[in-house]
Amino acid sequence: MTISVAVRRSWTSARRAAALGAGFAVAVALAGGVPQASAQDDGGKKVLVVGKVGLNDFEDLNPLDSGWVIQGEINNLMYEPMMTWGQKDYAPAPGIVEKWEFSPDGKTWTYHFDPKAKWSDGKPITSKDAKFTLDLIKGNEVLAGSETSLVDPITSVEAPDEHTLVVTLDKPSGIMNHMNNFHIMPEHVWSKIAKPEEYQGEPGQPTSGPFTLKEFRPKERVVLEANKNYWRKPVAYDELVFQNYETAEAAVQAMQAGEIDFLDSLNPEQATALEKTKGIKINRAPSRHLDMLEFNTGAQTRSGEKLGDGHPALEDPAVRQAIHHVIDKDQLIERILDGNGTPGVGLVAPIFPNYYWDPGADKVEVSAEAGNKLLDDAGYTQKNGDGIRIDPRSKRPLSFRLLYHSDRPAYADVVDFLVTWVKELGIELKPESKESDPLNKDGDAGKFDITFGAWNFGPDPGEDYEYYTCDRGRPEKAEPTGLTMAFWCNEDFDTLQAAEVAEPDVTKRGQIVKDMQKIEYDQAPQIVLWYDYALEAYSGKWTGFGTLPSSGGAIARQQSYYGYAQAHLVGGDEGDGGDSGSSTGVIAGAAVAGVVVIGGIVFFVQRRRTVGERE
């Protein structure tokens, strides 16, 4: 009796466990199988899926107020600017406006609209739309805050006919050559929006660019649909999806799993890992992003009131330049970036040929001997018992705090090199690690000696170089400011900055910007370590991504639409990838599992029915 109960119990349990297991398996298989098959056939749509870390930073897609880079990237795909950045060399190029000219005094600008330009709803894009938008921004405090450099000098905007716009300024402005990639809105729609500053981004609104907005789930995904009425060459696929990922690691995994087709902002390790994954290709290209060391060059107000607690010796360019002499940028790039970068010079990256300054023979030589000579010549000859030089004016040893971001691993590696290198100069560095937020707050308050910084140089030098003017470097009040990089002030530099902002001629402006870089390079308020490469992964099913510049640049984070708009599936016009074989396999697996579970259920029910007989 005992034995037979035990055997029966064991037998019953095994059956029941099998039935439950089969039930779970089929649930999983069914849940897993159907969407796989659905995603693959999906009406034959061609869909490019882009993974984004940072899509959750914003909850609106207002084309007139894009504070975030990714926000701007998406809006650039929907709205053609009046003038855009030329794909060849970032020079201003026709957008909705096909040509433009300025008066000899640089105060009157006339723009001629492309008669072919039309909104996605078929209505023509006219100069009246541009006048409406410029007037709207100028009269709206919130929107004007994002475009001060563009709208502040404007005194009047006229549209004498549908294809001509005349803008008058109170002072000449080089920005009018590209109007900051400015987007114009359709008057026939936006004139009815009561509070344009609160516009969230609504699907179906007419756009002027290669895409329209199809779906927007804030913090989750953005779906753009190809604009079939695009007046230039329409894109070669149907939808462009931006999918949010909380972390870069999650996005890399999604790329490996084939859920996304494109991913940018990779670090070298991630790029290497993805490169080893079958079917994934990597774009390693020069970018406009740089990392640098910032010096506290003597934070103080315009009236001379001291700000923060910077070391007085760093006010001396000789000390800063001596440190520059021991930084081996090639070695940093090789060891830390795995070769993915080029040595830094000024704020302007080499991908901007019209503005980039090549130091040539003036390049700072990597030489501790040259650095020591600079310090000796400048009077830093005394040393304390630890071999650290003494500042002859403040009598303090040249011992500097070096703030670095604890959440940026590359900086910690650089710190190790720097501490060793500057020791050869008789200078001591004391590294202090902090999270970005408190570190930035210290930086704004002038409570640092040396710190790290990063920058994405914009195609227009005007706004970037404002950060190095005396107006910003010497704030009016003794309060923290995030509008300066090094609390630097140089009158020669300021004179050139005023000239370049006002210069309407692109070539002349380029020369002035190069002269400014030379001053900065000599005075060293900052040392640009490198221009790192953009590391981007894309599915081998896609090709033709438009880089900026076209000779080899980044695909993502452009201030234009070339990157995604020029992409197409390998081989032309076949539908969205995915092999039907695996789809069929999943469906077959689900079917088999279904048979198993139904069998299990039948068996189980039968057992229940006959339990009395067996008792």
Partner: protein, 360 residues
């Protein structure tokens, strides 16, 4: 069970003058006594819940104002702002007001039920909450049902066969899962089942490439995405049910009524399922009731690892800014629903288990 009938303030057999069933007046007295005692019980529990809620409401104002980070940075974006722009944003968000004024505004918002607008969008935070709540309920409810059902079943079998290999394995597995950090388990699950095997999506709630427009397309798509996060969350919760049910069954195993049931010739399996398990279920129900209170809270870790667009992920995203109005509402909602559900569970439990009622 026999002990229970001899305890309690209103034990019928303790009353003089015969059995209560035979005396309607006595029965009415007893009913009144029960009712009075029940109302006292509810009042005490309700006051406790109310005090907790008041503490939650007060805490939620202060706790998020000591967080690092400046909400203005999130509003400004990647573009640095001028001091004038920063000042204007601070004024718009009400951050330029003294703390006392902000606190007063906060208290006022409690009474008007206007919790304010998110710093990074122009949406009411209550709208954001209702938008994200269904995803959280779907995930946590699925995980809890899976964990409770499977954990109870496994726990009962393990306790019934004490000393068997199966029991040892189950206890070991349960303890291991209980000790495993959820985020780690989630990441391992993603690597194994999504990246390597390709069975499930890496994260999210919807396919990146979209599915058809039909209800069932959407249903299966969400179900497919639900499997990994729900199993990850359930795996950790499951261990509690296994261990509690196992302990409970162990206590029941030696009782006389089970020997009687066996003596009547019932199969061992029936004795366990129909006699032992129902009596051993009460601790499990207590646990389930307590966890039900957290069903609206989601799981910050699980939702973050799997980018599941629920309240937990919303909380994580808001805390990085920090989006104070949204955090305040979520905190009060999380804590408030937990307090409320626990309060209801205590009352429910009183009806379910006479021992609680009579020992109160």
């Amino acid at each position: 069970m026999a002990d229970i009938s001899r305890t309690g303030v209103a034990e019928p057999s303790a009353a003089p003058g015969g059995t209560p069933q035979s005396d309607p007046a006595q029965a009415a007295v007893l009913r009144r006594a029960y009712r009075g005692e029940f109302l006292r019980f509810v009042a005490v529990k309700f006051s406790g819940a109310l005090v907790s809620l008041v503490m939650v409401v007060l805490t939620s104002f202060f706790i998020f104002r000591v967080l690092a980070g400046d909400p203005v940075d999130a509003v400004v974006g990647d573009t640095p702002a001028t001091p004038e722009q920063v000042a204007a944003i601070r004024e718009r968000l009400g951050l330029d007001e003294p703390m006392g004024v902000q606190f007063w505004e906060y208290l006022r918002s409690l009474f008007t039920m206007d919790w304010g607008t998110s710093y990074v969008s122009d949406k009411k935070v209550t709208t954001l909450l209702w938008e994200r709540l269904p995803a959280t309920v779907l995930l946590t409810a699925t995980a809890m049902i899976l964990a409770a059902a499977f954990g109870t079943w496994v726990g009962a079998r393990s306790g019934w066969r004490r000393g068997s290999t199966g029991e040892k394995v189950q206890v070991g597995v349960s303890l291991t899962l209980w000790s495993t950090p959820t985020f780690w388990l989630g990441m391992i699950a993603i690597v194994a089942f999504s990246v390597k095997l390709g069975w499930f999506p890496v994260n999210g709630m919807h396919s990146t490439r979209g599915v058809g427009d039909g209800f069932w397309d959407e249903f299966f798509d969400v179900a497919h995405h639900l499997v990994l996060p729900a199993l990850t969350m359930a795996a950790v919760l499951y261990a509690q049910y296994v261990l509690i049910m196992r302990t409970s069954i162990l206590e029941e195993r030696g009782n006389d009524y089970l020997t009687v049931a066996r003596a009547k010739g019932l199969r061992d399996d029936h004795v366990r399922r129909l006699h032992a398990v129902p009596n051993a279920l009460l601790p499990t129900i207590t646990l389930a009731a307590a966890e039900f209170g957290t069903i609206f809270n989601g799981s910050v870790l699980t939702e973050t690892v799997f980018s599941w667009p629920g309240l937990g992920l919303t909380f994580y995203q808001a805390i990085k800014i920090p989006d104070i109005p949204l955090l305040q509402l979520l905190f009060v909602f999380f804590a408030g629903t937990t307090v409320l559900v626990n309060f209801l569970a205590e009352i429910f439990y009183r009806f379910l288990d006479p021992r609680v009622r009579r020992s109160a």
